[in-house]
């Protein structure tokens, strides 16, 4: 399928690695400089470097805090303005999602611990029982916490939903444009080859 093909970067040559977790400008400048020197910069913070010959993006295991999978984007040397816009949109969306969910999950964990602690204290129990195990509340007792947490974060979620849908549509639309441009370019090249 043409779409599958165009999603794979076709160019060879140098590879600049950009990680999404670091800021875009610093990474790109250091990455660019390192690439010019012929070195491969490390994908800052992610501890993984895709092989040099690979021309596609790489996706990693779920993040500890946000449960989202980080992507290391491939930057082809002949990246067009449209492709750069797409890549930057994806990086921005990834960074924003990462920030939101890491913070949200951390808050959830923390508030849950606090809730369990306060409930156990109210019941007169210790946080850890005799065998050293962490004492837990059953699902019915936790239900109050879940309800409370959901209603507290309702507005935050509404705002996030709006942002996420906007990012998603924008990225998909740009992907469509990039795919179309690449397909047309490929067709034109083929026509030229046939004519020659």
């Amino acid at each position: 399928m043409a779409a599958a093909r165009v999603l794979r970067a076709g160019a060879c040559c140098r590879r600049r690695l950009l990680s999404s977790s670091s800021s875009i400008s610093s990474a790109s400048s250091s990455g660019g400089r390192a690439a010019e020197r012929g070195e491969r910069p490390d994908s800052a913070g992610l501890g993984f470097r895709p092989p040099a010959h690979s021309h596609s993006d790489w996706i990693g295991p779920p993040d500890k805090h946000s449960n989202l999978r980080p992507i290391i984007f491939y930057v082809p040397p002949d990246e067009s303005a449209l492709e750069r816009r797409l890549r930057e949109a994806r990086q921005e969306a990834q960074a924003s999602n990462q920030r939101f969910w890491a913070r949200h999950n951390r808050a959830f964990r923390q508030e849950k611990e606090e809730f369990i602690y306060s409930r156990l204290k109210a019941k007169g129990l210790e946080l850890r029982d005799e065998s050293g195990q962490k004492a837990t509340l059953n699902a019915e007792e936790m239900a109050d916490f879940y309800k409370d947490f959901l209603s507290k974060n309702f507005k935050k979620h509404l705002q996030y939903n709006r942002d996420w849908y906007k990012h998603n549509f924008r990225i998909t639309f740009l992907m469509g444009q990039v795919a179309l441009v690449r397909a047309l370019r490929w067709l034109r090249r083929r026509k030229k080859n046939v004519q020659q």
Binding site: G47, S56, A139
Partner: protein
């Protein structure tokens, strides 16, 4: 062995069509009576010895093969929960792994299981040759996160978890099957077939096949768009974190293209090949599911009612495909499916409250637990009422309400228990009952269908048909 592998390989992906109740224990029961619909596997939640585990796994695999022979996707996806549980148990308890997963299982026995996980996981890794790549990945992630200070070995293990985002054509069918939630789609097609079969017209095979295919394509499209919209939320819920878009196996653009390639031909097939009414219903259902239900899930508890309508429309589509008109029988069938959704979903969502709360989903089980249980009970009782209305509308004979009374009473009883006890075990019982209750109800309805020939004699049918009439009469 190969079949085992494919089963295991699919298990993690397909497990969550009907959702997970988060418990560690599964009950093994054989339904007495003529219909042995379910076999599912008993697992002790206590300590497991290593040799026993192999036996146990073999036993599980065997059971799954047996059950696969018996039936349809509906039960298989449910039985394959066994594997998912095993996969979950391989994860050692560690703070870095998604905590809600652990907190979800607040059973006493869990502590013992958690202790046992560390020694078991190396064994699991050696067994993993036969397991899916997914489980291997999960176990590796579990194993390596628990010791962060390891020399070069860990780096390569960590590195191996990074995947190139390159679409391989031989992976594509599996990826698309998961993207379109193929098992749920198959269920939808079967409810459409039920609607078609119940229509009081002679059975036409081509129309039936076109309607089923069109509905299936429409369902694939709707499910793909749903997954496209929900990527970050799916990543954060245990039930859905192995979906293709979450794992980056397919790009969002491709998902949308696939949805368009399924939806447009599907609706065209329904509108042109069957009749425009069915096409319109199909298009409306896609819209309702993707543009109403999916966003509403995060905004208001009304999503459950909208979702129930989404589930009720396919049998109506089957009926209109056969008859070409939206009459009382279609609405009754839709009503039965509508009512069924509530005990099914409300019971399921009872065990997922933590994930819903953290993920930001507005579900009755989290925000209005009393309402959740009341509605489930109410609709269990409504099923009895609707079954009684069926002969009044001349769809079935009077034997239908009588024969279906036991199963309807049983699900109502479980609904009442859920309403009264409001605990995990009653919710699970109700959920599992709903899984076999619907197919049985539809089957009984079909066997009690009012014969078409009878109607022809009475001159009720609009014009004769040359096709063979499909008649079932009870002795």
């Amino acid at each position: 062995m190969f079949r085992e592998e494919t089963e295991l390989g699919k298990s993690l992906e397909h497990q969550k069509q009907l959702g997970e109740l988060g418990g560690l224990s599964l009950k093994k029961r054989r339904l007495r009576g003529t219909c042995r619909l379910f076999v599912w596997h008993l697992r002790n939640t206590g300590v497991r010895q290593i040799p026993c585990r192999f036996v146990h796994l073999y036993h599980v695999a065997n059971n799954r093969l047996i059950t696969f022979q018996y039936f349809n996707f509906l039960k298989r996806m449910y039985v394959t929960r066994c594997n998912k549980d095993l996969g979950q148990r391989a994860k050692p308890k560690s703070n870095s792994i998604v905590p809600p997963f652990h907190e979800l299982q607040q059973l006493d026995q869990e502590k013992k299981v958690v202790h046992k996980i560390s020694p078991v996981s190396p064994v699991h890794q050696s067994w993993s040759e036969t397991s899916s790549r997914n489980e291997l990945r999960e176990m590796k992630s579990a194993a390596e996160t628990e010791d962060s200070v390891i020399p070069v070995g860990a780096e390569s293990k960590e590195d191996r978890r990074w995947k190139e985002m390159k679409l391989r054509l031989d992976d594509l069918p599996g990826i698309l099957a998961r993207l379109s939630k193929i098992k749920l789609t198959a269920l939808v097609i079967s409810t459409t077939s039920a609607g078609f079969a119940m229509a009081p017209v002679p059975f036409e095979l081509t129309c039936f096949l076109l309607a089923s295919l069109g509905t299936g394509l429409a369902s694939c499209a709707a499910n793909s768009i749903n997954q496209f919209f929900e990527v970050p939320f799916d990543s954060n819920m245990n039930r859905t974190k192995n979906r293709p878009l979450v794992r980056g196996q397919i790009s969002p653009l491709l998902a949308v293209c696939f949805a368009a390639c399924c939806g447009i031909p599907g609706i065209a097939l329904l509108a042109l090949g069957v009749n425009p009414l069915t096409g319109a219903l199909g298009a409306f259902n896609i819209f309702l599911y993707t543009c109403c239900y999916t966003p509403l899930k995060r905004m208001s508890i009304a999503n459950t009612w909208v979702g129930a309508v989404v589930g009720a429309i396919p049998p109506v589509m089957g009926w209109t495909a056969a008859t070409g008109s939206l009459d009382a029988g279609a609405l009754l069938l839709g009503g039965i499916l509508y009512s069924w959704q509530f005990p099914h979903f409300n019971a399921l969502s009872w065990g997922l409250r933590e994930d819903y709360s953290r993920g930001g989903y507005c579900m009755m089980s989290v925000t209005h637990p009393g309402l959740c249980r009341r509605v489930a009970l109410r609709h269990c009782l409504a099923l009895i009422g609707l079954s009684t209305v069926a002969p009044v509308l001349n769809i079935t004979t009077w034997t239908f309400p009588i024969i279906s009374l036991p199963i309807n009473l049983y699900i109502s009883y479980l609904g009442f228990r859920f309403y009264r006890d409001a605990d995990r075990s009653s919710s699970r019982k109700l959920f599992f009952c709903s899984l076999w209750h619907l197919p049985m109800l539809l089957l009984v309805m079909f066997t009690c269908k009012k014969s078409v020939l009878e109607k022809e004699d009475k001159g009720d049918l609009p014009g004769g048909s040359n096709e063979m009439a499909m008649e079932i009469r009870l002795p």
